[in-house]
């Protein structure tokens, strides 16, 4: 059974509007459905503004979806009472893209990582401190630096603090919202390897949101490609990278830089007219669906 199941998720934002002007609505997520199996890393790719981040936040109800359903272990998360939702948050956590904005600059690393334990009243003070030091070690940070503030850490270290905070409650599912895209390339690899190690160690399930396709190819078992709020293609990573079917996926894959100055590859430019908004996902191979 799927751990997380998203069906027909829609999120519309109202924009503008005043005394005389009617607000316009923007559909950020438009009828998105997918399922993530326990223990897998499910990639969600697409360009900026395509709705990947909003989808991730809807699953955690950081943004309330307009309609649709999110099921976690078969239970409808959107129907949870606030109290039930609070308890459910121990199971699902998020790591943010921006290592600067995602940590409160006025708190020490210890306070940041300890906060989830305080919120959920887990353990006495001494037990909490021990757990925080353990988490610090788990994500590869030196527990001697616990009393430092976020600005005293590098971007990669900050991202590790964010990860320690997310892991504090022993979740089974993590939304990784572009967890390494703000980091130096050399640091990206370290953090990605850490994420993969932790997944094995703690049997975690990841929703990996990214726009770096090479990273997705390396990390994810299945990938969904989002374009203008819709999933246009979804399937096993190998199948999608080997034989992309949707015009947007093809254009996206052709845009991946090749680290060889002599290599020449025709870049496919997407013709928006070629994308039909009416098309629906069809299974073109086992587990490989595309809007064609």
């Amino acid at each position: 059974m799927a751990l997380v199941e998203v069906s027909h998720l829609v999120k519309r934002f109202r924009r503008g509007g005043g005394l005389l002007r009617r607000p316009s609505t923007i559909t950020a997520v438009d009828d998105v459905s997918f399922a993530i199996d326990e223990g897998e890393t499910f990639g969600l790719v697409g360009e900026s503004g395509c709705g990947k981040t909003t989808t991730g936040r809807c699953i955690l109800r950081l943004v309330e979806p307009t309609s649709g359903a999110v099921r976690f272990r078969g239970e409808d998360v959107l129907a949870y009472s606030p109290k039930r939702m609070r308890a459910a948050r121990r199971q699902m956590q998020i790591v943010f893209q921006d290592p600067y904005g995602s940590l409160n600059p006025r708190m020490t690393a210890r306070q940041i990582v300890e906060e989830p334990l305080i919120i959920h009243r887990m353990g006495a003070r001494a037990a909490r401190r021990e757990r925080v030091a353990g988490l610090f070690g788990l994500v590869g940070l030196d527990p001697a630096h616990l009393e430092r503030h976020p600005h005293q850490f590098s971007g990669g270290q900050r991202q590790r603090i964010g990860l320690a905070r997310a892991l504090a409650l022993n979740p089974s599912f993590l939304v990784l919202d572009e967890p390494v895209s703000a980091l130096d390339v050399s640091v990206q690899a370290q953090v990605v390897n850490l994420l993969m190690d932790l997944q094995r160690q703690l049997t975690l399930t990841y929703l990996f949101i990214a726009h770096d396709l090479r990273l997705v190819e390396h990390v994810c078992s299945r990938v969904a490609v989002m374009y203008l709020g819709r999933i246009v293609e979804v399937g096993p990573t190998g199948a999608i990278f080997a034989a992309p079917r949707h015009p947007y996926t093809r254009a996206l894959l052709s845009a991946v830089p090749i680290p060889d100055p002599d290599a020449r590859r025709a870049r496919i430019v997407l013709d928006p007219a070629a994308v039909s908004r009416e098309a629906s996902l069809k299974e073109i191979a086992a587990g490989h669906w595309a809007e064609v």
Partner: protein, 325 residues
């Protein structure tokens, strides 16, 4: 750095004087020296006319012209100062004939210095209480508006704009004049503090709202929500601390404004009743042309206000940008 220390020292000095008023003031608030109306300050001396040194002493005043209220020093008489007598720091050894009037006496023959230090309690206390009220009220409303957004934000901010566009002094005047003219001191204190707090609130609320609104969009606020923190926790633990620096600065601009406002209201007779000493009432009583020409010591509350306001400004000027920590 030095100027900040000087400023802080001035403010602390004034606060200490207010706190220690009963020990510092040589006389009771309402003690009158009817033979010494508008008498000049008795300056403590160490050297007499013949150049001989003594323990600190004063010369008594002798009335020269009853009508003009002019005095001359009786330099032949030395009155010794006594320390720590009657639980007062310093007073004259011959209170009846030669009281210690460090800043002279007023038109009723009361000791200006004693009234000044007691008045500091009223004036500084009122300013401090009113600022605290404005900070609490403005902080709460601003944080609520900034965090809730939408219609709550609109309502609160338009209400605060309304208070903001009203000329503050007229609001205070209008509200005060709606009450009975004669009220007891504590009622006046509470009432003035409430008016000042309301007038100061929009300034605080606007700033806090802007800060909370900006911070609430950052991912760390989302992170706290994702961890299961309730609205109260997100607001109090994460967002409001971002406004701390602003609140400190705001308090230091409100305190001097309120000191002056109390003085203004008391000056026009809508402040504290007679019998209560505040810097404003003292200036009110000194409001005659003769205070400027012949009895300048009556204006000492204005000097005291100047010192406190200067001190506050010096102490908090050139604050370096608030560090991340």
């Amino acid at each position: 750095m030095t100027t900040r220390r000087v400023g802080a020292a001035l403010v602390l000095l004034a606060a200490a004087a207010a706190f220690a008023a009963p020990a510092l003031a040589p006389h009771a608030l309402d003690q009158r020296f009817v033979a010494l109306l508008n008498a000049p300050p008795t300056v403590p001396r160490l050297v007499d006319d013949r150049g001989a040194w003594h323990l600190p002493f004063i010369h008594p005043w002798r009335l020269v012209n009853q009508l003009e209220q002019t005095y001359e020093q009786d330099r032949s008489t030395r009155v010794r100062l006594v320390w720590f007598a009657n639980r007062r720091l310093v007073s004259s050894s011959d209170e009846a004939r030669a009281p210690l009037l460090l800043l002279g006496s007023d038109s009723l023959g009361r000791d200006v210095f004693s009234r000044l230090v007691y008045g500091a309690r009223t004036s500084l206390g009122l300013a401090a209480v009113a600022s605290l009220g404005a900070i609490l009220l403005g902080g709460t409303l601003g944080a609520t508006a900034g965090y809730a957004g939408g219609i709550v934000d609109d309502l609160l901010m338009r209400a605060s704009d309304f208070v903001l566009v009203l000329p503050a002094m007229y609001v205070a005047l209008g509200l005060r004049s709606a009450l009975p003219l004669v009220l007891d001191a504590w009622t006046v204190f509470a009432f003035l503090a409430a008016i000042f707090a309301v007038i100061g609130t929009p300034y605080v609320a606007r700033g806090v709202r802007a800060i909370v609104r900006t911070e609430a969009r950052l991912d760390y606020a989302s992170a706290a929500a994702a961890l299961g923190a309730g609205h109260a926790r997100v607001l109090v633990r994460h967002l409001l601390p971002a406004a701390r620096g602003f609140l400190v600065v705001e308090a230091t601009t409100l305190v001097p404004a309120f000191i002056v406002a109390e003085a203004t209201l008391s000056y026009v007779g809508l402040g504290f009743p007679d019998g209560v000493s505040s810097w404003g009432t003292m200036l009110h009583e000194a409001s005659s042309i003769r205070a400027f020409t012949d009895f300048p010591w009556l204006l000492s509350p204005a000097a005291a206000m100047f010192v406190v306001v200067l001190g506050l400004n010096l102490a908090f000027q050139h604050r370096p940008p608030l560090s991340q920590a």
